[in-house]
Amino acid sequence: MKEIEEAGFSRTRSVRQLSAFFLLLVGVTILSLYTGPAGSELEIITKVRLPRILLGVIVGGTLAMSGAVFQGILRNPLADPYILGTSTGGALGAIIGLLIFSGSKMVSSIFIPLLAFAGSFLTTFLVYLLSRRGGRVPRETLLLSGVIIGTLFGAVIMFLMTWAEKELHEILYVLMGFLGIIWTGETVTTVVTVTVMVAAGSAIIYYHSRDLNLLSLGEEQAFSLGVDVERTKIILFFSASLITGAVVSVSGLIGFVGLIVPHIIRMALGSDNRVLIPASFLAGSSLLVVADTVARSVFLQEIPVGVVTAIFGAPFFIYLLRRERGPG
């Protein structure tokens, strides 16, 4: 069993591949640090751009990584935190937090990410339960449940918006995806909380990446190879929802990163999750940093970064859908 599993996995090669993606991220970050409407003053680079880029790294990486996890567990190339409703659930949690803790900033900086996580987890779980058909999760029912739950929670968000007055703009930008937060002590606390959640979730996910490889073969095969299928699935679901909810609470809904990136990585490096997962993180970070650089620099006014990713992501999604229908 060990030999079968290890076949085709070379540690040195995967290290080389990951280093290449890491260098890509470093390059993109440096480029982004020196791109912006206000020139290259040190003050602006270190205090405004750098925090924003770091946020982009965490958010983009997380979305891409949870996309890879969802695609792996569900054995469905169209799964991603946005389409499955996970992000919308997280946004709903964050918006409820925003309305509840509107006054008290210190409390909200920790509780909003937690509420967003609760929203993400419950949504993913609900979508999973709804689409399960006798132990299997067919792609049609999964996508349909995701879209329906996403729409339902989107409607709840709209309903909450009719009650919000001061928070209306903020909610609107949660829905569109936005990294241009104003940094103060409170936002630093929030982002640190989010980063801790992401680090914990990523460690758990990476630890289970070998089991995820086996799960991708099919649940029966994975079971016969000694994987506790249900337990592994729950752990991975939990972790991917944790990190998705956490980042949604600061960035809002950014679509398509979680869908596109794992696909590109799979095309380039194959589908071994031990490489796919960290590589997706690095590539997702790079993609979102680039998209956000466009969002904050091209026009006099800022455009929500979710708009940029959607403009490039939607055509790619259509391409995937058409390819899916083709030979397979």
Binding site: G36, A38, E41, P51, I182, L300, Q301
Partner: protein, 302 residues
């Protein structure tokens, strides 16, 4: 019954009032059809002076009261909170989502709208046979004009004309008091919203108030009245004064924003959060007060 008695009253006012009120000017009044051109350039035809008016914007509600026609308002939005009497008037929804059904139910003879945001309601109401007149001033000069035109439509009253004349005088006086030469004008950052960070471009009404109060809006060249902008633009343009025109931030918070400490306004403590945003953001009669409040703060410490 109540409604028909209103109609009768309106008719009586029309019959006896229109002869006395007919004023020569650009607005023609022939064969009982009164024609008016609104701020969007649309020609609005009325068969009689409006007596049952619905206002779909808080600034318009203020203007109608200012012109002495507040009692003609039979419907306002949920944002219409000034003057205090406006709160007694039935609500027809909010600024961006007025209830057409509620409007029709109140059977107004005129609906007042503002801005291009509300354009989509114009056709809808028009197709239901309700005349719509848009009031959309983008600076103080245009506001005086809009008020004069609206007063003409409501029926010129001496009190209304006086109000406009006094406001024009006050504006001129404030302009003189606060006048500064171009290079003496302090740079001003207008914060409309913190999350996301929004400001008002030079085409906005509040920007005109800043200019009249002797300031210079640092966010010129923005494509729209209100825009989300990148914080680095604010830091780079180093405003001398910051006005927070929203309730969500206090001035103390600005010095805690990372990277904002190098801004002149923050260093010198010239951040102001104590002006009621409604008096500066609503293109209405309280703009005079707004200019005075802004101007006094611009002169502080000079």
């Amino acid at each position: 019954m109540k409604r028909s008695s209103h109609r009768l009253a309106a008719l009586l006012i029309l019959v006896f009032g229109s002869a006395a009120c007919s004023s020569p000017g650009d607005n023609t009044e022939a064969a009982n059809i009164i024609k008016f051109t609104d701020d969007l350039g649309r020609v609005v035809e009325l068969s009689k002076r409006p007596e049952r008016i619905i206002s779909l914007a808080p600034n318009i509600t203020e203007i109608v009261f200012f012109l002495g026609s507040g009692e003609k308002l039979i419907g306002v939005t949920s944002y219409c909170d000034w003057p205090p009497q406006a709160r007694e008037i039935p609500r027809v929804g909010d600024f961006s989502h007025p209830s057409i059904e509620r409007i029709v139910e109140l059977s107004p003879d005129l609906v007042l709208t503002t801005s291009h945001e509300q354009d989509r309601w114009i056709g809808k109401l028009f197709s239901l046979g309700i005349p719509v007149y848009s009031v959309y001033p983008h600076d103080c000069e245009a506001l005086l004009n809009s008020m004069e035109n609206l007063l003409g439509l409501l029926g010129d009253t001496p009190a209304g004309l006086d109000s406009i004349r006094i406001m024009a005088e006050k504006l001129a006086k404030l302009g003189k008091t606060f006048h500064l030469e171009g290079n003496e004008r302090p740079g001003v950052f207008i914060e409309i919203s913190k999350s996301p960070l929004m400001t008002a471009g030079s085409s906005s009404f509040v920007s005109d108030l800043i200019e009249r109060a002797g300031g210079r809006n640092i966010a010129s060249g923005l494509p729209r009245d209100y825009c989300v902008i990148n914080a680095e633009r604010v830091i780079k343009s180093d405003p001398d004064i910051v006005f927070l025109f929203h309730g969500l931030s206090k001035k103390e918070e600005l010095s805690r924003r990372i990277g904002w400490g190098s801004i002149g306004a923050v260093k010198k403590g010239r951040v102001y959060d104590d002006i009621d945003p409604d008096i500066v953001l609503r293109p209405g009669p309280r703009a005079v007060l707004g200019i005075k409040e802004i101007g006094e703060r611009l002169r502080e410490g000079n």
